[in-house]
């Protein structure tokens, strides 16, 4: 019998698996897909390599750094710093009408930009950083209330407030327009204090390293092994039922499938509807392959968070896509020793899952084309026009996210309420990943490690 069976071979499941296998536990990861990676997987199309979701790895730390989530993660996964081959960003921008704030992996730049554009706010901004910097970074905290209330205590300019929230919500907001204080601290640190990086080869490098390590330690991975039910007795999970009719027993279970989705595996459906609210926020993303590196067009920004009015709306839109705001990422614009070659620009915007889900196949394809154009039209107000450089395109919608994560509504960042302690109603079933309260590549890896350490490595 297995010591632990893990549902999902995304970042969090793989990280937990490595910890367990390292300590000689018999561990098996069950993954519904034919690939690992979940939301952060990769694929090939027309001979080109694409990442499913990756813009950038957050929480960048230079070699030799001892504190912070990335360093802790490297220690726990027994990776050398070089193995992840992280290359820091060139620099990013938050662009609102009339004001742009640049930031990079050194908070000094961001501070000087704020001091220049919002001189009255800079003292409050520095005080705010002082308060949030020590906040528990392993996501085991409790709900500390509204981030907007916290920010309002330090910053009085509504435009600056919106400009700070825009990147944080886009890269980790599970709720509409606001975040939990705990989540805000984690996100603020990961983006503004530590910053962005990317391996030259993208997410596949990280996944290959994780997988190699897991298997090298004797971990088992079963692909195309979707779990359909978690059967329990006397308050303990007993076994899992699989799509192919098989069953798997284990002493302990860990699910990265999401909170609501995991509960659904435990109960008959129907019961779960009100008890475990689903997230509402989903994205579309356009991918444009360019003939040249975007720097040739004068675009050297790593990521541009844009919004075309003074207030920023982070809600499920009524239309298929909300093109008023978005995130423009250029994987070329990291500080690589060698340029990537072809250019690429990825643009993310808020989208409505239900509207996309209601389309028939022909409409779906048509709407993808229409909204691709509209999103690019909106984005080129904030970056140099690259439209005549495009040689190939791809696009994903909330339905794609649903397919890759299993999250209902294609909810990118999972449920609005997080389960920080990772426990469930069953003694030996735990959750990790997005719904444990840690988002992003680094966040979900940290989550897998933390939950494995806390519950699954004790005792013998």
């Amino acid at each position: 019998m297995y010591d632990t069976v893990i549902i999902g071979a995304g970042m969090s499941g793989l990280a937990a698996g490595i910890r367990l296998a390292h300590y000689n536990k018999r561990v098996c990861i069950l993954e519904r897909h034919k690939m690992v990676g979940g939301l952060n997987s990769y694929y090939q199309q027309s001979g080109r390599n694409y990442d499913v979701g990756l813009h950038a790895i957050t929480n960048y730390a230079q070699k030799g750094t001892k504190t912070g989530p990335l360093s802790r993660l490297l220690r726990h996964l027994r990776f050398k710093w070089e193995e992840l081959a992280l290359v820091p960003q060139i620099g990013s921008t938050i662009a609102f009408p009339g004001v742009s704030l640049r930031f990079a992996n050194d908070i000094a730049l961001f501070e000087s930009e704020i001091a220049r554009n919002f001189p009255v706010q800079i003292d409050g901004f520095r005080k705010m950083i002082g308060e949030l910097i020590d906040y528990n970074q392993i996501g085991m905290g409790t709900d500390g209330g509204s981030a907007r209330e916290f920010v309002a205590r330090h910053i009085s300019d509504p435009l600056l407030t919106e400009m700070l929230f825009c990147p944080l919500l886009y890269y980790g907001g599970a709720r509409e327009n606001d975040m939990e204080f705990a989540q805000f601290c984690i996100m603020f640190r990961s983006i503004f204090l530590e910053g962005f990086a990317r391996p030259y080869q993208g997410v596949r490098l990280i996944l290959q390293k994780l997988l190699q390590k897991f298997k090298g330690l004797g971990g088992e991975l079963r692909l195309r092994a979707g779990v359909t039910e978690i059967l329990s007795r006397n308050g303990r999970a007993e076994k899992l039922l699989l799509e192919d009719g098989g069953e798997i027993h284990a002493k302990q279970f860990l699910s990265s499938a999401g909170w609501r989705e995991t509960m659904r595996l435990c109960y008959e459906s129907g019961k779960t509807q009100e008890q475990f609210p689903a997230g509402r926020l989903s994205f579309v993303e356009t991918i444009s392959v360019l003939r040249h590196d975007p720097k040739k067009l004068g675009h050297d920004r790593t990521i541009v968070f844009y919004n075309d009015s003074p207030s920023f709306v982070y809600e499920k839109p009524d239309s298929l896509v909300d093109v008023r705001s978005g995130v423009i990422c250029s994987p070329n614009n990291f500080d690589y020793a060698e340029p990537l070659g072809e250019g690429m620009i990825r643009i993310t915007a808020l989208a409505n899952y239900d509207r996309w889900a209601s389309l028939d196949e022909k409409q779906y394809r048509l709407e993808k084309m229409r909204w691709y154009d509209r999103m690019i039209d909106s984005a080129v107000r904030f970056v140099p026009d690259f439209r005549n450089q495009v040689i190939d395109t791809d696009m994903f919608t909330p339905l794609t996210i649903r397919r890759f994560t299993g999250h209902e509504n294609g909810a990118v960042y999972g449920a609005p309420e997080k389960k920080y302690d990772g426990r469930t109603h069953l003694d030996n079933l735990y959750v990790c990943g997005t719904d444990q309260g840690m988002v992003g590549v680094v966040g979900s890896l940290v989550s897998g490690v933390t939950i494995a350490n806390k519950y699954l490595l004790g005792g013998e």
Partner: protein, 81 residues
């Protein structure tokens, strides 16, 4: 195991946990926490490695006793002889 061997065993564990760390100048009397910035999860990692490699079971109440190299060697001595 001699004191020196136990010390080396702990050094081996530390260099697995922090491969980028230079451990040649480790001060045996100073806390790991201050010198290596190890947090409580890392201390637990050391304890798990000791269990894995030498089958030493350290009760949770004793975790705090493994704060410096000198204390760790002293604590492990009766378990590893």
């Amino acid at each position: 195991m001699t004191n020196e061997e136990i010390r080396q065993a702990v050094i081996d564990i530390l260099s697995d946990i922090s491969p980028d760390e230079d451990l040649s100048n480790l001060d045996d009397a100073a806390p790991f926490r201050d010198q290596l910035q190890l947090d409580s999860m890392d201390v637990m990692d050391i304890i798990l490695e000791l269990r894995k490699r030498y089958r030493v079971n350290i009760p949770e109440d004793d975790y705090g006793k493994l704060d410096t190299m000198a204390h760790t060697v002293e604590y492990l001595k009766p378990h590893l002889s």
